[in-house]
C-alpha cells in the first residue's frame, strides 16, 4: 500500500459521504405500456435516484443494457433505482414485457 493508493482510496470514498442527502430524484411513469416521459435528462457525473411508477395493472420489467439494470415493477407498483455517475451520452432503456411500445432513453449532459 503506497501513498497514491491510499489517496485514490480516499477519493473514491468521498462520493459516499456526500451521496445520501443530495442525490437528485427523477420520476418516470409507465402507462399503457409506454414510458412517460420517454426521455429523461440527467447531469453528467452525478448519481441519480430514479423512481419508476407503474400505472398499468400488468407487471413490467425495466431493463437497460446501456445502464446494466434489470428490475421488475409490479402492476400499479413502483421501484427505485440508482443510476450513474454517468458519462455524457444517450442510454436506452425499455420494458422487457412490452418491448414494442415501452421504449425510453436517458440523456446525460
Amino acid at each position: 500500500m503506497n501513498k497514491t493508493n491510499i489517496l485514490i482510496g480516499l477519493l473514491l470514498l468521498t462520493p459516499l459521504v456526500a451521496s445520501a442527502a443530495d442525490t437528485p430524484v427523477l420520476e418516470l411513469k409507465i402507462k399503457d405500456h409506454q414510458f412517460e416521459p420517454a426521455q429523461l435528462e440527467v447531469p453528467a457525473d452525478t448519481k441519480v435516484k430514479l423512481i419508476v411508477h407503474n400505472h398499468d395493472a400488468t407487471p413490467e420489467e425495466f431493463e437497460s443494457y446501456d445502464l446494466n439494470r434489470e428490475k421488475i415493477v409490479s402492476g400499479n407498483g413502483k421501484i427505485t433505482l440508482f443510476i450513474g455517475p454517468l458519462q455524457p451520452g444517450t442510454y436506452k432503456f425499455f420494458g422487457e414485457f412490452h418491448e414494442d411500445t415501452a421504449q425510453g432513453s436517458i440523456v446525460v449532459r
Binding site: A57, P59, Y65, I72, G75, T80, P85, Q87
Partner: protein, 273 residues
C-alpha cells in the same frame, strides 16, 4: 402472441443453458435424475412464490429488495457450483460410474446430489418467476389464452432445444476430455454468476465503488442479441462491465481453479470425506 413467446424463450434459454452445463458436468454422479427432478419442481414452486411476493421483496431493504434477493440467489448458486466442481475433482474416482454400485460410494455421492437439486431450483426460480409475472400480466389484460399458450409453449420448447443441443454437444464433442471441459464450463458459469451478483449489489448501492464501465463493446456484441445473451449466461459476458464485475469474475476463477488444482496434490487426494 409472438412477443410473449420471445420473452419466454429468452428466460427459458437462460435456464436451459445453465442446466445443460450443470447436467453435462455432473454426468459421473449416480442417481442424479431423481434429484434433478426434485430441483426442477422446487424451482417451479419457488418461481410462483417469488412472483406472488414481488411487491414484498421489492420493498425490502429500502426498495432494494429485488437486487439483494437476486444477488443472494446468484451468489449462493455460484458458491454451490464452485464448491461442487472442486468436490467432484477431489472425489472423481469415488463418483465415477463403475464404482457407484458399492454402497459406500453412493453415500459419498449424496453431497453433490442435494446441492445439485438446490442449484437447479435456484436457476429455475430466478428466470421462472419472470415468466410467471409476464403470464399473469397477460391474464389481467384478458388476452387470448390460446395465443398465450401457443407463444409460451413455443418459447419453452425452443429454449429447451437450444439447451439440450448444448448438453449433447458438450458430451459428444469432448468425450475424451469431458471432465476438464465441463469443469471449466462450470467454473465460467460460477464466475459469471458471482460477477452478476456483485454487480447487482453495486446497483443497489451496497457496493458503491468502481461502478464506472471499463469499456463498451456493445457495438461489437450486444447483450440483447442471441449470441450476446448466450455468452452472458455461459461466461458472464457484459458489454459494459464495471471494474468490480471484472474483478470478481477473475477472482472467482482464480479461487475455484486453484482449489481444484491444489486438491489434485497427492497429500490432499488421499483424504476421504
Amino acid at each position: 402472441m409472438i412477443s410473449f413467446g420471445i420473452v419466454v424463450f429468452r428466460e427459458v434459454l437462460e435456464i436451459s443453458l445453465v442446466l445443460g452445463i450443470i447436467l453435462a458436468g455432473t454426468q459421473q454422479v449416480a442417481n442424479r435424475w431423481q434429484w434433478i427432478g426434485i430441483g426442477l419442481v422446487m424451482g417451479i414452486l419457488g418461481s410462483l412464490v417469488v412472483a406472488v411476493s414481488t411487491d414484498q421483496i421489492s420493498e425490502l431493504m429500502e426498495g432494494m429488495g429485488q437486487e439483494v434477493f437476486n444477488a443472494s440467489v446468484l451468489i449462493l448458486a455460484s458458491v454451490l457450483i464452485g464448491s461442487t466442481v472442486v468436490w467432484m475433482k477431489h472425489h472423481a474416482r469415488q463418483i465415477s460410474k463403475h464404482l457407484t454400485e458399492v454402497g459406500e460410494e453412493v453415500t459419498a455421492g449424496a453431497r453433490p446430489l442435494s446441492v445439485l437439486a438446490l442449484v437447479i431450483a435456484l436457476t429455475v426460480l430466478r428466470d421462472g418467476s419472470e415468466i410467471v409475472l409476464l403470464a399473469q400480466g397477460l391474464f389481467v389484460t384478458a388476452g387470448s389464452v390460446t395465443d398465450m399458450l401457443i407463444g409460451g409453449i413455443g418459447g419453452l420448447v425452443a429454449g429447451t432445444i437450444v439447451g439440450l443441443l448444448m448438453y449433447l454437444g458438450i458430451i459428444r464433442a469432448s468425450a475424451r476430455y469431458i471432465f476438464a471441459v465441463t469443469s471449466w464450463l462450470l467454473i465460467f458459469l460460477c464466475a459469471g454468476m458471482m460477477s452478476q451478483g456483485i454487480a447487482l449489489l453495486a446497483s443497489a448501492d451496497i457496493l458503491p465503488m468502481f461502478s464506472a464501465p471499463l469499456w463498451d463493446s456493445s457495438w461489437l456484441l450486444h447483450e440483447g442479441s442471441l449470441l450476446g445473451q448466450t455468452l452472458h449466461t455461459m461466461f458472464g459476458y457484459s458489454s459494459r462491465p464495471s471494474g468490480l464485475q471484472l474483478g470478481s469474475y477473475l477472482l472467482t476463477i482464480l479461487v475455484v481453479a486453484s482449489a481444484m488444482y491444489l486438491l489434485k496434490l497427492p497429500r490432499f487426494s488421499r483424504t476421504r470425506a
